[in-house]
Symmetry: C2
């Protein structure tokens, strides 16, 4: 096990389980703050392992590997929500400081637990049930109207965790697997949303919380492709209620670190919560360039129980465009065009190999004219992806 | 020799000779752009070596070490100007792409060469001569008036390269050493400046150049302690002439990468050039948070001959306050106070041990009220240093 090299001056070591792009994007802020990062990497060429000196290779599901890793860190946090309960329990047993805690993290790991808890808190959710049988599914569909949204509460089957179905027959395979595992499915009504919003905030163990402005997230084929910060033409009252819901969720669930609450905006000024993530989140990438405190710096401050930084936007608008893997593998040469066309584009690449649909980077651009910014972000992301339309 | 691990996608490796804070502050921007950095580190715990995975230890004066290091990089640049001419020549001989080139760098390494060249270009300089004898010194003092400023053209004697003297007798020791080394001293008139300014710009091998706004630098005991960006109440015509001089110096000297031109503002709207630095510079640290493109990102773009980013300020004012080592070694606990008092302070620590007067970090803060920003930057820097006045 590599021992992370501490900076003099009492600066701590923050361990991150998982070395994806979220861990990678902590590297810049950690260096600025004088902190040392250590990442438990899935592979020696993982995204974060390319830029962080202390990156021992080990599986997040390997109790011994995670324990050995954690022993060299002052606090442990997570690149993703896949760390199994037995590993979290072993860390807790060993007295490891973890943020978020297992007690909070379960609500990001288990969608049924999340729905039960948010409903108990009277946070607006889509109508939902847990379902074990075709009869459960049919009854719910009759009640809320077809189609309905079926979700595996934890992870997914064959890489998929969400399915929109028009009858219980279309869920026969999932119901069989759910029965075999004695683990019910989550069914939700398919809400007639007008757009998707997200509120991102950070909360520290001391209980301080700070929320960034509510953003609009644009999905293409179920993948986030664009974020507009703040959400345009958002009713200030709705923005306030959404932010209040986010802060309440963070407080009631005892979240520490960054929390992302994904929401659907409904006609009539209402909203429902869609998903929770307890880590820096795609909906907050705009903040790296667009806010006084970016989400990666804020996550580090929160897990260290430092006072939080200002989430104030630096500009009227910031637009984030995701770069997804396509056919084109040779990304670097695109910089020549993208940077020459738009000297204000901020490119963020993750050091990941190209696979179709994989998130490999994003761009941010800030300014006054939203339509112009959206065009520029889209053009730059497309061009790096290899989609050249002009 | 460690081989730096490249990211897929054609992203290059940028090598930096020297692992001080300037190399360290390239780490965040490099990770964002998907680039790989490699630093030739003076020690395994050097500032940049703490945050960059590829940091082989070797001396910048060791030809073989530098050549072996450079072989694994696509382009080589420098953390400081101390690389000796024979090492630079060996790199050039080996076909290593270097920015700045040795032909340009000499004007940042040798103050006499700089004065000769700038004078030939009719760039305003203090009156100056090269001096070998007491008679040379006395003649110059009689001509321009005492005291005069004496400088060792390269490096310094006993760690000091500048002395203000009221007679040739006060330079007897330096003149003896200069004679022994057959290397004259540089004498300059002591100009009656009203304040110190700096213009920072970047120039690419293709010849594109971009300048940040002219800043004011505040020195305390000959160490830069504060930078105000842009310089307050600066005559726009003077700002334009200063910027034009910077661009002309960069072009005529063939500078590639970031160039800092330090200047004295004189009564009557004139200026003279004080010093040149061909690398990211303390006078540009404000740009990390205060400009669309920070100097470290820009330096990487320039040495890779990528199109340059916009140097546009994000805010009306940004104030940078240097953190200098004092008596206080335990820096991290100060964050609790500094961050709680001012959620907009951006702290940058260098991972360096505290030694009195050593630059160990800086803070940036941006906004509308310059007096307020100066107070906040000074308070935060003082508090981290351990100077608690309230």
């Amino acid at each position: 096990m590599t021992v992370p090299q501490r900076a003099p001056g009492g600066f701590p070591v923050v361990g991150i389980v998982g070395a994806g792009q979220l861990a990678r994007m902590c590297a810049g802020p950690a260096a600025e703050l004088g902190l040392t990062l250590s990442v438990l990497a899935e592979a020696s060429d993982a995204s974060a392992a390319l830029v962080i000196p202390s990156a021992p290779v080990g599986a997040h599901s390997d109790v011994e590997a995670v324990l050995a890793f954690a022993r060299e860190c002052d606090v442990v946090t997570f690149d993703h929500e896949q760390v199994p309960a037995d590993v979290l329990a072993a860390l807790a047993q060993a007295g490891v400081a973890m943020h978020p805690t297992p007690e909070a993290l379960v609500f990001a790991q288990d969608k049924l637990a999340m729905r039960k808890r948010l409903t108990a808190l009277a946070i607006p959710c889509p109508r939902w049930v847990s379902a074990r049988t075709p009869a459960d599914v049919d009854a719910f569909g009759e009640d809320v109207g077809w189609p309905v949204v079926a979700k595996t509460p934890r992870g997914g089957y064959d890489g998929k965790g969400v399915r929109v179905v028009g009858s219980s027959a279309e869920l026969a395979d999932w119901l069989k697997r759910a029965a075999a595992e004695d683990s019910p499915l989550l069914l939700e009504e398919k809400v007639p949303f007008t757009r998707e919003l997200a509120v991102l905030l950070a909360r520290s163990p001391s209980g301080q919380a700070a929320a960034w402005p509510v953003v609009e997230t644009v999905q293409t084929d179920s993948i986030c492709t664009e974020v507009i910060a703040p959400a345009a033409d958002l009713d200030p009252d709705l923005a306030a209620r959404v932010t209040e819901a986010g802060l309440r969720i963070a407080g009631e669930l005892g979240v520490t670190g960054v929390l992302a609450v994904e929401l659907f905006e409904l006609p009539g000024g209402e909203f429902v919560v869609n998903e929770l993530a307890m880590r820096p989140h795609n909906s907050g990438h705009w903040s790296m360039d667009g806010a006084v405190t970016g989400q990666f710096e804020q996550h580090l401050r929160a897990v260290l129980d430092l006072p939080l930084g200002s989430p104030r936007p630096r500009h009227r608008w910031t637009v984030m465009g995701n770069i997804l893997g396509g056919e084109h593998h040779d990304l670097f040469p695109a910089y020549r065009h993208v940077m020459a066309r738009d000297p204000e584009i901020k490119a963020h690449l993750y050091g990941k190999g190209v696979r179709p649909g994989r998130k490999i980077g994003h761009v941010n651009v800030s300014g006054e004219d939203l339509a112009d910014l959206r065009e520029r972000a889209r053009h730059a992301a497309d061009y790096i992806e290899g989609v050249i339309l002009e």
